[in-house]
């Protein structure tokens, strides 16, 4: 069974066709990576899958369900969570509060119950906290639990954002350039986290990445894009050696 199927996806921004007929399938348990030079449409594909943009053409099928027209806030409930290239954390909140927001898709309390903080709300809050603490343990974040995000170094923020996505208990995790802005060591750590997320938590990963060492270390399947069109697909090695990919990156 295919987890996410992208079928003939295309989007226009005015006269620019940012993504042009991209099709691929992500199998459960895979780490699927999209690479490509700047402006190839990688992040646009992410924004299409997380429904922030509406596709002009094509279909998105997740868990045998058409999600092409599902509103963006419903995507999390279906089991897709994402991170952002430039980190979109809630800066004026603590790490704990950020992660608890990741549990929002599991919130079942009603407004009036929350107003009086009845026992049901309290119990659910404790459940959320337990779930969050598991993620904190998993990603080794206890030291930062009560720090405000705006006081944290960049590398830690990247991990916190990944942790927040994991708190939704996703089936599919979208990572937008997990290594951008990280040092060599932090990038190596990131590779371990991604492998752990896949093998220990059983979460499928779809990521956009530039760092080829990270891509080769973790990817099962790589898709290369240029000018919104797919140019090669296969293992990391196959794609790296593909003449069109070399041409796209180096010209000529």
């Amino acid at each position: 069974m295919t987890l996410l199927e992208v079928d003939g996806l295309a989007v226009n921004f005015g006269g620019i066709r940012a993504v042009d007929g991209v099709s691929f399938a992500v199998e459960p348990g895979q780490v699927f990576t999209i690479i490509g030079p700047n402006g190839a449409g990688k992040t646009t594909i992410f924004n299409l899958v997380s429904r922030i943009y509406d596709p002009t053409q094509g279909r998105l099928i997740f868990c045998d369900e058409d999600i092409t027209r599902v509103p963006p806030h419903e995507i999390g409930r279906r089991g897709i969570a994402r991170t952002f290239q430039n980190i979109e954390l809630f800066e004026h909140a603590t790490v704990l509060q950020n992660l608890l927001l990741g549990r929002h898709v599991h919130a079942r309390s009603r407004f009036v119950e929350e107003l009086f903080f009845v026992r049901r709300v309290r119990e659910q809050e404790l459940e959320h906290r337990e779930a969050v603490e598991q993620v904190i343990d998993f990603l080794d974040l206890p030291a930062y639990r009560d720090s405000l995000v705006l006081n944290l170094p960049y590398g830690v923020r990247k991990v916190v954002e990944m942790a927040r996505a994991l708190c939704t208990r996703p089936k599919l995790l979208l990572l937008d350039e997990p290594s951008s802005g990280l040092s060599v060591e932090e990038t190596e750590d990131m590779a371990f986290w991604i492998q752990d997320i896949r093998t220990l938590l059983g979460v499928t990963v779809l990521m956009v990445e530039h760092d080829m060492s990270l891509v080769s270390a973790v990817s099962d399947q790589v898709l290369a894009l240029n000018y919104g069109r797919p140019i090669a697909m296969g293992t990391a090695r196959e794609v790296q050696e593909h003449p069109d990919v070399i041409k796209a990156y180096l010209g000529g």
């Binding site: 979109e88 704990l96 006081n151």
Partner: protein
């Protein structure tokens, strides 16, 4: 310095950090209950602090926690006030029912304003709410048979379940009760998924959306809750001033509410109350100063001879009697706060507390990084 030893997750769900903090709040409440015996002459002013506290809470939820700026909150206050007076006087409803309905009416108006707010942010939203407030003020003026038009409407003292709250002490306690209730309900919301969703919207809409927060629903909810609180404050305010006229609920009043949360400290419940105390008590302080400052200055200038004393007395006397003094001071203080203390009175309060708890190790740099403006303040 005290450290709280945490042994269960439930500890983090409490309203207070630990029993020591809770005891301080109990002591504060006890102090407020005996206050009427200590300063009977200021009770009316302090009641206004409590009513403004509810208003501050309302604006805080919207501007401080959800990041939506409203320049029209006086309109919700007016809707609450007029609705309440209409319900008790014209329809003869019981007081408690009338307040609940006034809150519901204001909340409904809040939803109406909140709907276009889904498509607007920052300055555009502020302008839209400003327009709404102007329209509502016009409605107050024209809708004669409900609002009394320009002639205004007298308001009787509150009578709840046959108990009269006409006395200063009784009304003081009533307002205190409502403020405490409002604080409790709002604090409950803020430690629940709804409050977290609001903060998430304030800090990053796109991330909130990706984490499953329905932006439209939560923004509308914030508007409705905020307007509802304002409606309750309006009902109390009607009793406080005893006479409703359309020109009370002007744009300047709305700006005063915004000033309240900025001076108090955006993003904290304490800030709402501090700001309310500031805005309500400043006029009292100024009127006190009008009486006593010229005499002090005169006495000080007496060192340089009697003619200097006399002219100093005259000059300060003329200065403090200037009619524009109050708004001028308000403006000046707002500018100074934004320049030197973006976290408001609450931020200053935190620093003073930290200074004493860390004495003699306090360093100024502790708060340096947090001096950055909030995103909502930058008006994207």
């Amino acid at each position: 310095m005290r450290f709280v030893f945490k042994t269960s997750y439930a500890q983090d769900l409490g309203l207070f950090r630990d029993s020591v903090q809770r005891n301080w709040y109990v002591a504060l409440l006890a102090g407020l209950l005996v206050l009427p015996n200590l300063v009977p002459e200021y009770l009316v002013d302090i009641s206004l602090v409590f009513i403004y506290g509810l208003c501050g809470l309302s604006v805080m939820v919207l501007a401080g926690y959800t990041g939506l700026i409203s320049l029209g909150h006086a309109a919700f206050l007016g809707i609450g006030a007029y609705a309440h007076v209409y319900f008790i006087h014209d329809l003869g409803l019981p007081w408690a029912v009338s307040v609940a309905l006034a809150a519901a009416t204001a909340a409904a108006a809040g939803v109406l304003v909140g709907l276009p707010a889904l498509r607007m942010t920052g300055v555009y939203l502020a302008i839209a709410t400003l327009a709404f407030a102007l329209i509502i003020q016009e409605v107050f003026t024209r809708w004669d048979h409900v609002t009394g038009g320009l002639k205004g409407r007298p308001v009787d003292k509150a009578v709840i379940f046959g108990v009269s709250f006409a006395g200063d002490v009784a009304f003081y306690l009533l307002c205190l009760g409502f403020l405490a209730g409002g604080l409790w309900l709002t604090a409950n919301l803020l430690r629940s998924p709804t409050g977290r969703a609001w903060v998430a919207i304030r800090d990053s809409e796109i991330a909130a959306q990706s984490m499953g927060v329905n932006l439209g629903a939560y923004k509308t909810l914030a508007f409705a809750y905020s307007a509802g609180l304002m409606g309750v404050a309006g009902a109390l305010f009607a009793h406080k001033i005893g006479f409703l006229a359309p020109d009370i609920f002007s744009v300047l009043f709305s700006i005063q509410f915004l000033l309240m949360v900025v001076v108090g400290g955006l993003g904290s419940l304490h800030g709402a109350v501090f700001g309310a105390a500031f805005v309500a008590m400043l006029p009292v302080l100024i009127s006190q100063a009008r009486d006593s400052v010229p005499a002090w200055v005169g006495a000080m200038a007496a060192v340089f001879g009697s003619s200097a004393s006399e002219s100093a007395l005259l000059a300060t006397g003329r200065f403090v009697k200037q009619p524009g003094l109050e708004p001028g001071l308000f403006g000046l203080i707002l500018v100074l706060f934004i320049l030197f203390e973006p976290l408001g009175i609450f931020g200053r309060w935190m620093k003073i507390k930290l200074y004493f708890s860390m004495f003699p190790l306090y360093k100024r740099a502790t708060f340096r990084r947090q001096k950055a403006y909030m995103r909502s303040e930058r008006l994207r």
